[in-house]
Symmetry: C2
């Protein structure tokens, strides 16, 4: 046995630094990994020398990389990839191939080995996914076509990079030169992918079914099982000459909803997230910073500038060029390129492996870390600028992948609101009450007759494809609990909840906040009496304009001061599209309101 | 930097073995740790030699011990300890002191060092907590006084063992002999406990409040924070000369409900459970088996038999003797002794530290592992036997710590049912409706006016002290969701849910099963109409006997076949105590039923 001491002190210091730096950098809108790399450079041997790499840090960080890659795999949904469209594929390929080629040439022309060139090419070609989703929210871009292209592009580019890396690293290990060796290696790789695909598509779902049939619902049992699958495929990948991270990634990809019960998959994915992102992976990224030498700024400044330059130009120009056939215009291609310019976890993992295997020098490794830092820093700046440019030109195209309104309750008021929204949206009603369902049917609406608490009802309604959930029963508790459920299981992003003014709902606002739901009608409304009025046709619809931009809350207040009893239903946008009237929204001067009174 | 390879293969094999052996042994009712130790002995160098200890296994298992001790600390509730009573304290002290002394003498008389004697003494004195809770459920003992004494006893004994171990290990490290050195060490230890207590009681709650005030609800952030606290206190303990596990344990003890939001604490505790019990700690226990040498059965058989004998006799006789003053009788003391006879995680951790520090030999370590295996094996056998003996003598005393019924809704039907149950139980009603609350008040009941979804309402009702939750609103969804909430947050063990026969509740049975709730009234009942009848005093109460033992379901069927419209409220036991009529219960021949019609 190798006797190695367990080193709590450095583990503590590194985790503390990672946490602090990550939290700081997140406050200014950057991903935690950036802070972790930077603090690693600062406290590591190259600058302050406060901590050095111990076996404990090394083992924990290696385990962290395996778990992180499994987690990244878990987050990839190939169904989303299927929807990714032509544009996303173009952006991904262009954004990978061009910087890959440029990176390769820069390294080989400046005297590096072919292998080093290929490694740097991959590192330069990679796109970081984590970097962007946060930025898309900050820039309010989630609904735009760019966002979908970006996310699909990053996904494809990551998968592409990993596959190329897989092939590459296995040949490096084997040092193969002649044809028969290459064939053997290729055969092994094919066998590995065939085996792991077969395992993931056929064996794993059976294990899942068997466990469900035996009523095994202990989360820890599933966690251990998934760890075994991750470590098992990881080791198998190593055995065929691929790197272990690839097996872990593939294991993660196959751990999907259909395999285990939805809640189990969700819980376990979160545990993998906690353990990798919250514990082990930060150790890896901080210690990656330990290997960085600042001397490159003196000794290899030219190469540093060249690689960073290639990373920028290659990614952005490559994206623009390959994006042209999508017909979305070169300016949108430019915006997509700026958004894909960040590098993150996958790049550092690959660069780290290159360093460990001696394929790239410490200087190149350092350059790649700085490249990750600089490109990641550039994303919000360039993406803000490029999307603002598109916005000004009126070329920022919106695209919803989740569409339509899912109503809980098909009562007369819900049907009335649904009628307005159905003009340009899919509207589906869920109700456990037969009469309500028949009413919905008679008005030509789609409906699902069932209890919203049941998974089968949500599946029947294909709840996860909706953009907005509207809970409009007379019962506050049901509305809120259903919204919470919808948020926790199928995650419909927008949730509008009707709140009646009866007693005992003091805590509702907290619940609404915690699931980012919003109050329908912008305030407490006696739903029951409005349902009655609509049912008895004892109301009239009024359409009004507003004189200036005003919040829904203010508008409602201004109306109440005139002592009218009214219920605002929808806001009509200048394009004619309608959206429900809710709290925390504002009405522009060119928009109108439909209310009933 | 020490360059150490990351060893996925052995990690995979050890985790797989641990999982398989743990699952097998759990099927026959033993704790997983027993299977892990055994498989470690089998696959390790002493028997098959399939795996040997690598740095990866070592580091992961050491990290696992730290996280496991933190988790054990988290599970300890000092409020429970406060309730533990005189009897629990007596059993704990007797069950620790006597085997401790005997173990010490056996080792020193057979030529061991004083330090080895003290270490073995602690290992022999420890009681395993995890071993028992499962057995208590299997033997249906959870409600007995023995169960409470056992749990409190094991808790106190663990804490006692860790404190003594703390003192001991610090003196061993220092090798102190003269008075001034001893004083310095003692001073350091006192400072450490003062600091960690101050931190836990004053600083930690402030951090919690500050984070809550900033609306930080990202679970991973809390997980990282708690890891930092665990590693931090662990390192601090090492710095003052105590072992790191002690700091981790203390950190765990202070991570309690009041400090963070209840849900966060619960989530994080589960993550610590998943990572320690589901991943890292099994690596530790399997590799502990690697250090075992089977030669002790030849070379040190006498010492083995002596230590195991001392463990049995010391624990059981010690418990009986010290338990006498409790006035609960020596036979109950005997049963408690058999229940406390298992050793588990804490013993193996302490023995492992003894081996690592060179205080005990590999032979003694092996003996201690076998002692853990044999004593743990004995627990279900001896405890079944001793409690059956008590049962036959009519001396198995029941004791509920959770008592009474918490009702959701104070509607007239609920008040009627509550009136029956209030004869010998605490009954509290929660209702958001003022009229219902005033009705409850006028009938002299305790009530809480508020929404059950709010934490403050549950706190006001002191929901966590109840044994049974009865959801009796007219709305199935509310009843079920409230029960789910009650199950997930304050965990009231019994949940009886009223189900009305309106459409759309096909999935309710699954929900009820998943939270082990039971249907009130043993079937679907039109709650609304019964409420009306009770409100209008349009009913009469009937008391009937049953001729033979019958399930509630069968009884109800037999009544319906006579075409009566009745609602069974409670079952009167032979002692006069009443319990609600529910599904999945049976009525004995000497019991009566009260129903309304």
């Amino acid at each position: 046995m190798e006797e190695v001491g367990f080193d709590i002190l450095n583990l503590f210091i590194v985790l503390l630094s990672a946490w602090g730096a990550g939290a700081l950098i997140k406050r200014i809108g950057y991903p935690a990994i950036l802070g972790e790399l930077l603090i690693g450079v600062i406290i590591g041997p190259s600058l302050l020398g406060l901590v050095e790499l111990s076996s404990t840090l090394h083992i924990i960080s290696e385990a962290g990389v395996i778990l992180l890659m499994a987690y990244i795999g878990m987050e990839i949904n190939f169904k989303d990839l299927g929807k990714a469209s032509w544009a996303g594929l173009l952006a991904a390929v262009g954004g990978f191939v061009v910087p890959f080629a440029l990176g390769y040439f820069v390294v080989t022309f400046s005297g590096g080995t072919t292998m080093a060139g290929l490694f740097v090419g991959i590192a330069v070609g990679v796109t970081s996914l984590a970097t962007k989703s946060r930025i898309l929210v900050d820039l309010d871009l989630l609904d735009t076509r760019i966002a979908y292209v970006l996310m699909a592009g990053a996904l494809i580019s990551d998968t592409l990079a990993l596959i190329i890396f897989a092939g590459l690293s296995s040949f490096i290990d084997a040092g193969a030169v002649n044809m028969s060796e290459i064939l053997i290696i290729a055969g092994k790789i094919i066998l590995f992918f065939a085996f792991s695909t077969g395992f993931g598509l056929y064996v794993l779902p059976r294990i899942g079914k068997w466990m469900a049939s035996r009523n095994i619902d202990n989360r820890t049992t599933y966690f251990t099982l998934l760890l075994l699958i991750v470590f098992g495929l990881s080791e198998l990948a190593e055995l065929v000459g691929l790197h272990g991270i690839l097996g872990a990634f593939i294991a993660g990809v196959f751990i999907k909803d259909g395999v285990f019960h939805e809640k189990i998959t969700k819980d376990i994915t979160r545990v993998f997230h906690d353990v990798s992102i919250g514990f082990m992976a930060p150790i890896f990224f901080v210690t990656a910073g330990f290997h960085v030498t600042l001397d490159v700024f003196k000794t290899d400044l030219m190469l540093l500038l060249l690689i960073v330059g290639v990373a920028f130009v290659g990614k952005i120009v490559g994206t623009i060029l390959f994006y042209l056939p999508s017909g979305n215009g070169w300016r949108e291609g430019f915006a997509v390129g700026t958004g894909m310019n960040g590098r993150g976890a996958v790049e550092i993992v690959i660069a780290g492996i290159g360093l460990q295997k001696g394929i790239i020098t410490q200087e190149i490794f350092s350059i790649l870390v700085f490249m990750a830092i600089i490109t990641t820093l550039s994303v919000p700046v360039l993406l803000t600028w490029s999307t603002n440019w598109l916005k000004k030109r009126g070329e920022l195209v919106k695209q919803f992948s989740r569409k339509g309104y899912l109503f809980l309750s098909a009562n007369p008021l819900a049907l009335l609101l649904g009628k307005h929204l159905a003009d340009d949206n899919k509207v589906v009603f869920i109700d456990a009450n037969k009469t309500n369902c028949e009413n919905a049917k008679s008005k030509g609406f789609d409906y699902v007759h069932g209890n919203i608490l049941e998974e089968s009802t949500l599946n029947e309604a294909v709840a996860k494809d909706f953009r907005t959930f509207i809970a409009l029963t007379v019962n506050n508790e049901i509305n809120m609990l259903a919204s919470q459920l919808i948020n926790d299981t199928v995650f419909i992003p927008e949730k509008f909840v009707a709140i009646s003014p009866h007693s005992g709902e003091g805590g509702s606002i907290n619940i609404l906040n915690s699931i980012s739901a919003s109050t329908l009608f912008s305030g407490k409304v006696d739903i029951q009496s409005w349902i009655q009025k609509v049912q008895d046709s004892n109301y009239k619809e009024v359409e009004v304009s507003v004189s200036k931009k005003i919040t829904t809350r203010e508008w409602l207040k201004s109306q109440f001061s005139e002592d009218k009893d009214l219920l605002p239903l929808v806001i009509i946008e200048s394009t004619g599209a309608k959206r429900p009237f809710r709290y925390d929204d504002h009405i522009d001067a060119d928009e109108k309101i439909i209310y009933i009174e």
